[in-house]
Amino acid sequence: MWDNLQLLFVWAPIINVQVILDGIFVGAVFALSAYGLALVWGVMNIKNLAQGDFVIMGGYMALALHQLHVPLVLILLIVMPVMFMFGWIVYVLMIRRIIDQDMFVSLLATFGLSLLLQQVMNLIFGPEVQTIDMELPVYDAFDNMVTVPSSKLITLILAGVIATGVIIFMKRSRAGQAIRATAQDPRAARVLGIDIDRVYAFTFAFNAALCGAAGVLVSIIWVIQPFYGITYSVRSFAIVTAAGLGNLPAVIGAGFGIGLFEKYTGAILGTAYEVAAPVSILLLVLIWRQIQMRRNRQVVR
């Protein structure tokens, strides 16, 4: 650990650039799935623990499509609608029945869904760690100390495009408006004739599509494995807890923050802490929120 610290801050501070860049690349992806979670949580009060498994699912779809030589942009255009439909089906079969229930039921049911998805993916794709190699050029900077694969740049741009699309959609469209209205007071929305059930189904499906997009990007810049989903769920929860519901800029900020934290933890402590890092940041965020709330004589609820 000491060696790594020295390397980072004394001998070759330029490596920091690499760590920060990597943190930004993964942070953008985290923010996408976290925003989906915030949406579903805020609108229908469902805490989706299968969030990360939706991400991994999108990743495997991308992997399968890539093996059929489908170009990247087309992969996104296929995966997102497919995940959207999948989300809609999950809503109809499962989420609809637990929506008015105790919050814990939604946690547990989606945890069950998460286990199921993991096992099915494990049966289909096997337990190996896989990734998509786009075979795109890699740029070097600072005497080869910093490498920036163009695939990562492309994913960052794509994440930006998707996020912008989501913002415009939520602000401008009737559906976005209906979603926000339902989030604030479903009963009033229903009285005024908004079809709540459709809004919920749409929201959940939309979230699945966002996760799917995040998964496509993850499979390009990182690795996927059937059981990696839970770490994405944990990250999403940490981000939403830190940023609050329905605050997109804060979600993006927290996403980058967690990306940076993880990359620095990895650089300093080593890769053995890969799983521990997002979990410990979740606990830290929860404790920090409690201290913050206690100052206002409140609890985190």
């Binding site: 286990l115 469209s173 929305a189």
Partner: protein, 567 residues
């Protein structure tokens, strides 16, 4: 602790099964031992989750820590080289423990595991109980994952490669019988301890915390202390049973000690399946779940995990009331009070009709039945010649009949204009209008209507920041925005200052005359209703007492006795 006859019979049957099960089916001894272990896990989980309402996904932590603690104690006391040497040998050392050494070590190990679990839970309590609801559940899950990850970085206890438990000094049959008895006895002890606890003040207090912790706190209940104990008891037993399970397994590593996706989630599912918050629910749920699990394990090899995931989802989504819930549901549903009986009333198109009556006479219930919140037991409700008594709230709203609420319901985080814009009529919606962009004329109309109710100058303020009276005006304007044919208003003047009330009466009348909206108004303010309505119905005790013009009602002796006279 008095017991009913049923309870005694149940205990008798369980005791018979517990004693004769392994004798009759010796091949299944360990499987039944695991069943008792599941009963213990589900029951103790329920203390925190079901009885106290703190749904933990991390109780498995104490189980795993208990395993490791027990291993450390057993090896440290009776192996000279200590744990470090033992683990660094990677299982090549198999010290022969005498029976005395082994059983003493195990006894001390179980006790130590329980105590460490308890201490750990108290430490967790210090930073976990400021979290409520989902945050506690997620936090405890994070805690479990974190402790598991930390454990595998500690080389002292074998790190990622795990640690072998001391060999059992005896043959296989003796071994399984011994562990069976341990599991059975521990389960019995935990069951009767919990049974006693739930009958004490403690049981009441944790139930109070579950139902309304703020209220409990406000009543002076030392909630944190109760919560600490409520977690320490499960933690103690989870530690003990972990120590036993570790010795049963013979070898422990991260997967054995912290089975988060299996035992960790099974115990919750069992408690839910049986019925949470009851003494018997978790026991029942554990028995049923364990049988199903063993069956899938035997008959669905390779797919057993998929099958379990499905069972879990089906269990939670469709049977979350639990089996105990079925018994309770039947008796509860017959306890209703009849709020409205044989009410016949008509509202003429384009008129203003009033409804009056003492508090609790069923006026709001009547509204709820009309706009579709409550089902009606018999009778008919028609709107515009169409039967609507079977329609849902949203359908009725889209037909053009809206209501406002006694307590205002607005979108508190949006500004007034946005509140208005989202309130447009959905009568002519098509499939794609969800995605339509906002039109300029809608905004104009929104602002016009805000001016109509006198909120134009506040139009860009966040609606939640408005005063209660202004929020009522906003809600009225939102209802108008929807261009309803009929509008049901629940006490529109409650909470509005007296000088504004005249303006409101004027606006209601103008909405009726200029926009042609039929109004039906619940009102306590006699001056308002007598001025406004052309026809008034008076309800009392859920019955229709009288109806007529304002003058007729004011002179009706029954109305005066029930309502207007007031003494």
């Amino acid at each position: 602790m008095t017991m009913t006859r049923d309870t005694k019979v149940t205990y008798g049957l369980l005791a018979l099964f517990g004693i004769f099960g392994p004798i009759l089916f010796p091949d299944y001894t360990l499987s039944i031992a695991y069943l008792w272990m599941m009963v213990l896990m589900a029951s103790t989980w329920d203390t925190l989750g079901g009885q106290m309402g703190y749904n933990s996904l991390g109780n498995i932590t104490f189980f795993g820590v208990g395993m490791y603690v027990s291993a450390i104690v057993q090896i440290t006391f009776f192996y000279e080289g200590g744990v470090g040497e033992y683990t660094s040998a990677m299982g090549s050392i198999k010290p022969e423990f005498t029976q005395a050494e082994y059983f003493w070590g195990l006894g001390l190990g179980i006790l130590a595991a329980g105590v460490v679990g308890l201490v750990l839970s108290v430490i967790f309590s210090s930073f976990m109980f400021g979290l409520r609801g989902p945050y506690f559940a997620i936090g405890s899950l994070g805690l479990a994952i974190a402790v598991a990850e930390v454990t595998i970085t500690i080389d002292y206890v074998g790190g990622a490669s795990g640690i072998s438990m001391p060999l059992f000094p005896g043959d296989i049959e003796f071994r399984s019988t011994f562990f069976y008895i341990l599991c059975f006895v521990l389960t019995i002890i935990s069951h009767f301890l919990l049974r006693w606890l739930y009958s004490t003040q403690f049981g009441l207090a944790i139930n109070a915390i579950r139902d309304d912790e703020d209220k409990a706190e406000a009543m002076g209940i030392p909630t944190l202390a109760y919560k600490r104990i409520g977690w320490a008891i499960p933690a103690f037993f989870m530690g003990c049973i972990g120590a036993v399970a570790g010795n049963m397994a013979g070898f422990i590593d991260k997967e054995v000690a912290y089975p988060i996706p299996t035992f960790g989630i099974f115990m919750v599912a069992m408690a839910l399946l049986g019925g949470k918050g009851t003494l018997w629910g978790p026991v029942l749920g554990a028995i049923i779940f364990h049988v199903i699990k063993e069956a899938t394990w035997t008959y669905l090899l390779n797919l057993q995990w998929v099958a379990l995931g499905l069972i879990l989802i089906i269990n939670i989504v469709y049977f979350q009331q639990g089996i105990m819930g079925w018994f309770e549901g039947v008796s509860k549903s017959y306890g209703g009070v009849k709020a409205n009986v044989d009410i016949t009333m008509g509202v003429e198109r384009g008129s203003i009709t009033g409804i009056i009556g003492p508090n609790g006479c069923g006026k709001t219930t009547l509204f709820n039945s009309i706009v579709g919140y409550h089902p009606i037991d018999s009778g008919s409700i028609q709107f515009d010649g169409q039967e609507i008594s079977h329609l849902l709230v949203g359908d009725i709203a889209r037909l053009g009949m809206l209501r406002t609420f006694q307590q205002t319901r607005i979108y508190g985080k949006m500004n007034c204009v946005d509140n208005m814009q989202i309130s447009v009529s959905h009568r002519e919606d098509s499939k794609f209008s969800m995605f339509a962009s906002r039109r300029g004329e809608i905004k104009d109309r929104a602002e016009h209507l805000l001016e109509f109710v006198g909120l134009y100058s506040k139009r860009n303020l966040i609606s939640g920041d408005l005063s209660f009276g202004q929020q009522k005006l906003l809600e009225f304007a939102m209802a108008l925005m929807n261009e309803p044919k009929a509008l049901l208003l629940d006490e529109p003047t409650a909470g509005i200052n007296p000088t504004l009330i005249n303006g409101l009466i004027d606006r209601l009348r103008r909405a009726n005359e200029e926009l042609g909206i039929t109004l039906c108004v619940i009102e306590h303010n006699m001056r308002v209703i007598m001025n406004l309505a052309s026809h008034i119905y008076c309800l009392a005790n859920g019955h229709m007492l009288a109806d007529g013009t304002p003058e007729e009602l004011q002179n009706d002796q029954r109305v005066i006795d029930a309502y207007l006279g007031g003494h």
